[in-house]
Amino acid sequence: MTKMSGAKALLESLERQNVDVIFGILGGATLPIYDLLCNSKIRHILCRHEQGAAHAADGYARASGKAGVCMATSGPGATNLVTGITNAYMDSSPVIALTGQVPTTGANTSYMIGRDAFQEADIIGITTPITKHNFQLREAAEIPKIVKTAFYIATTGRPGPVLIDVPKNVQTEVAQIEFSDGIEIRGYKPTSNPHPLQIRKAAEMLAEAEKPVILAGGGVITSNASQELLQLAELLMAPVATTFMGKGSLPEIHPLSLGSIGMHGNPVANKLLCEADVLLAVGTRFSDRSTGNLDSFCAPAKKIHIDIDAAEIGKNVDVNIPIVADAKKALKALHARLAKQLKKQKKSAWMKRVKEAKKQLNPPSKGKSKDLKPKALLQELRKLLPENAIVTTEVGQNQMWAALYFNALKPRTFISSGGLGTMGFGFPAAIGAKVACPHRPVVDIAGDGSFRMTEQELGTSVTEDIPVIVIVLNNSVLGMVAQWQRMFFKGRYTAVKLGSVPDFVKLAEAYGAQGLRVGSVAEFSKAVKKALKSNVTTVIDVPISSEEDVVPMVPPGCGLNQQVGEY
């Protein structure tokens, strides 16, 4: 036991969790923590808005697989984190959010929690539905245990954000602090080993399948199960479709890869999923954007569903064989079981069909267009980037073009806001990913509308020396909603035109970043190469047509087999 302040105990607890960076903005209610932060081993990255801090922590977590940490002061600082926390919750990302809070007690009792003190917000109440769990500290002595518990909850089972609210008097309170090793949470015992009987049943079903398809979700990436996925797919000769969140779980250039499914999924993936006789879904929650109309989703297929979160099984899609387990362990167990059972690879008819569907539905691009087309740009970008480069996306058309045309080759290299669809996510997430992986190029595939929402983080990236590349597919409109107004509201454009301000080259330069504008694919290629060599953040402005649609598309309410438009 050592005597120290709550603020010191907090920082030491974070160090014991191997936290090396905190993204945040300070304020009155976190001053005692910041006063000690300058002497800590932990790097603090001062963001320009708390939303940016939360997304950066999220991007850091997804790129590294470790928990990402963000911190904000009480009241508005804390509420500004809310979008970022919700985003992490929807995509099961392990983010630890630390918030300052007004004192619980004090000499002047008017500053107590619950009395509407200056910069007081009930962040526990606000974040209850958007966190995996949250804590409000009451005394300094409980800090080590609660921090440890928070990290354990955030990073195990189905990961998710955990918030710790730290009243100011707890930060200054000096107490005997003990850093214990063990924690015991009687209400939290995540299952991770698959039930052998369920594995046996699933293996039997897969062994008999004529047209099996594996659907890999974000859970495969979370549990680092890409190797196991590949081995099982190759053993079964089963093609692999991914969800949007599962992008990168299998290299998208692998012969068994079908691309991602969903509203703007690859037509090959959508088509073959509808033809499967057995679907093995791993680490996915069957979101509406993935499945389309549920009545026709994979209707002929028997379904096996592996998920670590029991509540996801049967929530949206009824399944024949549920397996509550960690994806890696379940895939390994299935492989072990099937390796004995399957003597030789068969299903050549099904593989023939896969090849034929790819040839028919993913034809090679015809010639070169003079216009700057997203498809050509993103395919070109893939060629320019090493396979371990990390790509983040904003939300909207840019994101769906990236899903369709940018092949992710490794897990944790495609980072995007899948569940919440948060515009403004990509750029701060890129900053977080770059901090986690400083030696790899990080590129934000952006739209102009989304980038405008968190563009102030250019300040963070320049002053903190975190060089990333932002490619702005600039159509001067809120493109995705404009597309829907075009398709479903008779082209009545309402509130979607952003105009061609700001000048993104000048904007970048105003922040001390590099700004480049391109007018052709060749120029684009040159600009990306220049940006890759630069040690400062580069914004590449790519003017594209405002009429460009994202197709193919499954119209809302339709099944995956009703996709329209050419790839």
Binding site: I124, T128, I153, R186, G187, Y188, A311, G314, K315
Partner: protein, 170 residues
């Protein structure tokens, strides 16, 4: 279990601030409807027991239980089989008594239902009655004819019959 009937969920939860909020919040957010909820200490330190009744089909019930289970402060949760439980509810009801004849009529009813008169005034009787919700409904129907002035029901609390329990092993 039939679909669309009232179902009883029992949960052992951490007895600390915010737990009721997180459970109620989950019900609201996911569109589940709580018919009644009772909470009290258990014989085990730091744990409280909740009895929640909900209306919905089996699939909904399964989701509710899974979602409750995900909450960190819910230590154990289970649905109780309706044919295999003891349920009780308590009601306090204040009835209008215009004259002595009515007063003795009401007291007779109370005796038949094994209730108790817990307060008397010149114009009212306050009655305590315990039992299954059906029994309480039947009693209240009778009292309606006299005029119910005020009513407080606790919602049900329940335990499994026999040795089965959801107690936490310590």
């Amino acid at each position: 279990m039939e679909n669309g009937r009232t179902k009883v969920i029992a949960a052992i939860v951490e007895n600390k601030p915010g737990v009721l909020h997180s459970i109620a919040n989950m019900f609201r957010r996911r569109g589940f409807n709580i018919e009644s909820i009772t909470v009290g200490h258990t014989e085990q330190k730091g744990l409280a027991r909740m009895t929640i009744t909900v209306n919905g089909d089996d699939k909904t019930l399964e989701q509710i239980i899974k979602q409750m289970h995900k909450l960190i402060d819910v230590v154990k949760v289970s649905s109780l089989e309706p044919e295999n439980i003891v349920t009780r509810e308590l009601a306090l009801v204040k009835v209008n008594v215009p004259d002595t004849k009515t007063r003795s009529d009401i007291i007779n009813c109370v005796e038949v239902f094994r209730g108790r008169v817990v307060d008397v005034s010149s114009e009212t009787l306050t009655i305590e009655i315990t039992g299954t919700p059906d029994k309480i409904d039947a009693f209240l129907n009778l009292m309606k004819t006299y005029g119910i002035m005020e009513l407080a029901r606790t919602g049900i609390t329940a335990l499994s019959r026999g040795p089965k329990s959801i107690r936490i092993d310590e």
